[in-house]
Amino acid sequence: MNVVVTPAMVGQVIVSGILAGALYAMVALGLALIFGVMRVINIAHGPLLMLGAYATYFLYTATGINPYLTLPITMGALFVVGMLLQRTLVFRVVDAPELSSLLLTFGVSIALVNLAQLGFSSDLRAVEFLTGSFLVGPVAFSKSRLVAFLVAAAITAAAFVFLKSTRVGKAIRATSQSREVAMVCGINVQRIHLLTFGLAAALAGAGGTLIAMIVAIQPEMGQIWTFKSFLVIVLGGAGNYPGALLGGMLLGLVEQLASLFLTTQLSEAVAYVLLVVVLLVRPTGLLGGRQT
């Protein structure tokens, strides 16, 4: 393959990588929260994102409002969906062996995807809003990706402030450090689990709204996001919430770099190779172990 790499292309890779990275970081933060607090990997995380994308699509086509304004609605709706999932199903397997929680959320994931197939059909849908891009020097900024970056960065920052300085946020971090000690301190752990799952689902929903303007919407769009979110967590170090930020940026950059030299399909494989290499070389993540 003969690809001449110009400085403009390098700039484009960096810009596109960082734009994608904030989105990855926000969605992965949801998965990381559930894993940190309950030691459960939610396989249905990506399908929850898919639901968010459909919510935005239907609100947009039905009312014609600015699709970015659907953000609070999808986040609120997914918050409720997440709490319902936790309240009805997931709480039963929080203390069970890992096999149970993996299989349970896998079952939920299959059910959600096929409900979407039944309800929305497998037609590709798109929210055509804010298409096109503008140039800064030789580097193109896709408008919808730039807005997605800004919104995702803002939401991620808000989530960190929430975790860092509010009482509930501190309770969430305390529960993730040690459930028993949190209970002794009078924290209602069941309620924290409920809130955490709702919050995580809302972050996935926000991701769905933002990528509804970027990629085609269809029932199977979500599953790859479970995988990528997990990769982001592994890159940043499991249980290390700020690490998700670094992991997201890194994944975005690597994918963009790969797409310079490889076909789109193969650049998906690059993310996979990245996971295997990190697990081999530095399984505790780039920033190292748990520190919340």
Binding site: L103, A111, Q117, F227, L266, E268, Y272
Partner: protein, 309 residues
């Protein structure tokens, strides 16, 4: 009431003998259906070997099936191999893949292996589409026509028997006990001096070879493969549902689950594809929450059968 061992073995011999002579009496459709049932028994039994025994969930077991299918098809079309050695080569390639993926992921405890398997089929699909020269890319590979349903019936049946026998041998051995110790408490297993990484990797190898061979056989039987048809997530889901429904971590659970769900699928559900998948999702949730030992677990309780067989 409990079933005596000689009576059970007698029944088993009768069933096997009936299946052995079935192709001489059955219709073409019937023989083909049984062939597919054998395939599902082998696949479900193989998934059980890693996930049912060690508790490490494989969300991408179809990858071993697919790599077997492609290995066999490429050898048959490009190197003019006979189908039987080609299918066995499919099993060997599945072993290679299992080492590549198991080595980094099984050294770690926790969900790493499960998630790595989740992405594996996607990656293989992309790779297969990319190397068009060898695999025909998205157009797939057409195998030369060959009337071999009968011999494939017997080889597929033998594979299903072999996987079930292997499961019996593993479960009744010290090796199997160690795997189940890992499932129940991995740290305790380590403290007792079990090399957990080596045991988990071994279990993965045993569980990969069957799907590799079966993939090669299925490709020969169908005569045409393409990336979408040999790496569907639905195949993994079906394996998992069959094992969970029948009873994970047992010898006969996968056989029971595969048989019941396969015939239900053929008779009723094949007409409603998404509803059928939705139902599978619901079965997984229900089994995990309500009857973690599957149907066999209920039967074992009721008829006082041995617990792991």
């Amino acid at each position: 009431m409990s079933v005596s061992r000689p009576a059970f073995l007698m029944l088993l011999a009768v069933v096997l003998a009936a299946l052995a002579v079935y192709p001489f009496f059955g219709t073409g459709y019937g023989v083909r259906s049984m062939l597919q049932l054998f395939m599902w028994i082998a696949l479900a039994g193989s998934w059980n070997l890693i996930s049912g025994l060690t508790g490490y969930v494989s969300f991408g077991h179809v990858a071993f099936f697919g790599i077997g299918a492609y290995t066999a098809s490429v050898l048959i079309t490009k190197a003019a191999w006979a189908w039987l050695p080609a299918a066995l080569a499919g099993g060997v390639m599945a072993l290679v893949l299992a080492v590549v993926i198991g080595w980094p992921c099984l050294r770690l405890k926790g969900p790493y292996f499960a998630i790595a398997m989740l992405g594996l089929d996607e990656v293989l699909r992309a790779l297969v589409s990319y190397f068009e020269g060898l695999t025909g890319g998205g157009f797939g590979l057409s195998l030369p026509t060959l009337q071999a349903t009968f011999p494939i019936y017997y080889v597929m049946g033998a594979t299903a028997v072999a996987v079930t026998l292997l499961t019996y041998l593993v479960i009744t051995s010290r090796f199997g006990l160690r795997l189940m110790t890992i499932r129940e408490d991995e740290i305790a297993a380590e403290v007792m001096g079990i090399d957990t990484f080596r045991h988990k990797l071994m279990a993965l190898l045993l569980s990969a070879v069957g799907p590799g061979i079966v993939g090669g056989l299925a490709a020969r039987d169908q005569g045409y493969i393409e990336p979408i048809s040999v790496f569907p997530l639905a195949t993994t889901i079906t394996m998992i549902v069959m094992v969970l429904f029948g009873g994970k971590g047992t010898v006969w659970g996968p056989v029971l689950g595969a048989t019941v769900l396969f015939f239900l699928q053929e008779a009723v559900w094949a007409r409603f594809i998404y509803l059928h998948q939705l139902l599978f999702g619901a079965i997984i949730i229900a089994v995990v929450l309500l009857m973690p030992r599957g149907v066999l677990g209920l039967l074992q309780l009721k008829y006082r059968l041995p617990r792991t067989i």
